[in-house]
């Protein structure tokens, strides 16, 4: 393999003097599940925010399929084929599940103001497009077992289901690269098992490359092809799960975190 599918080089960003991400580099091969771990406040979400264009990195570059996408607007990055979920759910709470997923089809649709306002027949272009994409979205709803939530407002769904709707919405974009920020947080163990299963499916059957942030170590070690551990915004080690897991600094970072938690409470 000559060139990485996705890579981040010397990414830095600071907030008022605090280096939230400090010279982080990594690269991900096509079809891999690449996990980022680290204690709270390590800078994981910030890396995602840089990738999806919500934050502008102070230096460094982000390369996707050989193209430099650093500093592009979020919607431009979405059209490149990068979708994400959020740690604190960001759903369109007063839309139904179906509509949330349909929004995921946004970049694949064309209907504008005039054609949208004036569809009055089944055969009109806007209606046809709408129908076609609803069919596509229905497949995702089936895949994630969301039928019962299909026509409900997502604001009223249970937390675990909301997380799935977010995943579904990201999938509806037909991403080549999918960023998942703590997808299993707040799920019970049964839901987690399903989730692992689906993530594997997304990797194997849809061929999507996945970047995963996750606190559940068992899950990370089970499904990741490679893992990057960071602390205080700085990379500690990157490698296959077994190696990363046993690295002394990683153990220390996690132990250290437990100590501070113990002190605070």
């Amino acid at each position: 393999m000559n060139e990485a599918f996705f890579s981040v080089e010397n990414l830095c960003i600071s907030f008022g003097g605090l280096m939230a991400v400090d010279h982080v580099s990594f690269s991900v091969s096509k079809g891999f599940i690449f996990s980022i771990i680290g204690p709270n406040g390590a800078g994981k979400t910030t890396i995602f925010n840089c990738i999806s264009g919500l934050y502008k990195p102070s230096s460094g570059s982000i390369i996707f399929q050989g193209e430099d996408i650093t500093g592009l607007k979020p919607h431009r990055i979405a059209t490149k084929g990068i979708a994400r979920t959020f740690q604190n759910i960001e759903l369109f709470s007063r839309m139904t599940t179906m509509e949330n997923l349909m929004l995921g089809r946004h970049i694949h649709m064309k209907t504008g103001v005039l054609s949208g306002a004036t569809f009055f027949r089944r055969g009109s272009r806007a209606a046809k497009e709408e129908i076609r994409h609803r069919e596509y979205v229905e497949k995702i709803i089936d895949l994630l077992d969301l039928q019962s939530a299909r026509n409900q407002f997502v604001g009223s769904l249970p937390y675990g289901t909301q997380k799935l709707v977010e995943l579904g919405r990201a999938l509806a974009l037909e991403p080549k690269l999918l960023l998942l920020d703590e997808p299993s947080a707040g799920m019970n163990s049964e839901e987690k098992q399903d989730l692992v299963f689906w993530i594997k499916d997304i990797q194997d059957e849809l061929g999507v490359t996945i970047l995963l942030i996750e606190h559940d170590m068992k899950m990370v070690m089970d499904i990741s092809d490679r893992v990057l551990a960071i602390n205080f915004g700085r990379p500690i080690i990157e490698g296959v799960p077994d190696v990363v897991q046993r690295h002394p600094d990683v153990l220390k970072a996690y132990l250290g975190e437990e100590e501070t938690i113990g002190n605070a409470s």
Binding site: L54, F120, E129, Q147
Partner: protein, 349 residues
């Protein structure tokens, strides 16, 4: 469950025979109404139709996209003056002038939307407030627009047929309003409407899903201004005469009150809001004629206030309605309707 769905039903306006029946009944009722009702009520219906259009327009911005505007009287003024000026100065036919003026309003909406992009709630409110005031001031100072004295609306004809009575205007206004309501409803069911709502619910999620915030936020402003411009153009003919003082800041707040009363983010609510509030507005104008209450108000005014100022009570009541609804029933009439519907679950709707 495995039966193949008909996805058109999801977005169709009328997905059952029963609904078709009610729809046709509604159209028939709207068409016969002006022939039976006294002229005053036809005038009232025209007023209602116009306010329904504004309410929907403003709701697209405030209720659906989550952006506030305190300057919609400005777009209303552009629509009104635009239509009148294009007709009397450039001799445009009515419909063309109306659409052109609304497009001018939309253009201004677009321009105003541009700085709005970077602005959160409070700043946007302030900028739009400034816009509304600037428009009326410019119109008021410009001789071309008749200055402070205002201008008269030219004679109206629709496809060559002269329209001179409230009855005639009813058919023009109601038809346009009807089309615009359906258009808004369709728009909100499709891609653009979804993008608007997405921006309101979570702008960061919307943009990471590929919604161009700059484009859609300004588009929402433009669409909203277009609706308001159309309504303004029709309004010029309803009054027959327009002057800058008609389009003041207070009018912008009245529009907001219509939206709140109808319910944020609901087309059906906006229709109700526009109708109910117009009725209230016209009734409050002659509140002193009410039995009992009217007399009490007059004697109260004589003793403590002024009788000449009594019509201003509508301002107080509208203000109270806004405050109380926002505190106790943010979904407005639409929320009320939803709850009644749940209560009467067995109904065929």
């Amino acid at each position: 469950m495995d039966m193949k769905r008909d996805y058109y039903e999801d977005i169709q306006l009328l997905d059952s025979k029963v609904l078709w029946f009610w729809f046709l009944m509604l159209v028939a009722a709207l068409a016969t109404f002006p022939f039976i009702a006294p002229t005053y009520y036809v005038y009232m219906a025209n007023y209602m139709a116009i306010n329904v259009i504004v309410t929907i327009g403003l709701n697209i911005l405030v209720g659906y996209t989550g952006q506030i505007s305190l300057g919609h009287a400005g777009f209303f003024a552009i629509g009104a003056y635009g239509t009148v000026m294009l007709m009397s100065l450039l001799h445009f036919p009515f419909l063309l002038a109306l659409v052109a003026a609304a497009l001018i309003a939309a253009f201004f909406g677009f321009i105003l939307g541009l700085p709005a992009l970077r602005l959160e709630g409070p700043y946007l409110a302030i900028a739009t407030l400034g816009f509304g005031m600037a428009i009326t001031q410019v119109i008021g100072r410009w001789e071309l627009f008749g200055g402070r004295m205002g201008v008269e609306a030219p004679a109206l004809s629709f496809f060559g047929i002269p329209v001179m009575t409230d009855l005639g205007r009813y058919f023009v206004t109601a038809t346009i309003a009807f089309i615009m309501v359906l258009g808004a409803r369709n728009l909100m069911k499709t891609r653009v409407g979804r993008a608007f709502i997405a921006i309101r619910d979570s702008d960061i999620a919307a943009e990471t899903m590929g919604v161009n915030l700059v484009y859609y936020k300004t588009l929402a402003f433009a669409v909203s201004a277009f609706y308001t411009g159309i309504a303004g153009g029709l309004f010029a003919f309803l009054l027959g005469f327009i002057s800058p003082s008609t389009f003041n800041f207070i009018l912008s707040i009245y529009f907001l009150a219509f939206v709140i009363v109808g319910g944020l983010g609901s087309i059906f609510g906006s229709v109700m809001g526009g109708i109910v509030m117009t009725w209230l507005l016209l009734e409050l104008d002659k509140i002193q004629e009410l039995p009992l209450i009217g007399g009490m108000l007059i004697s109260f005014s004589e003793n403590f206030m002024t009788v000449a100022g009594l019509p201003n009570i509508s301002s107080i009541i509208f203000g109270l309605i806004i405050v109380l609804l926002v505190i106790f029933e943010p979904l407005g009439l639409y929320g009320f309707w939803i709850r009644t519907k749940i209560y009467w679950k067995t109904w065929p709707f």
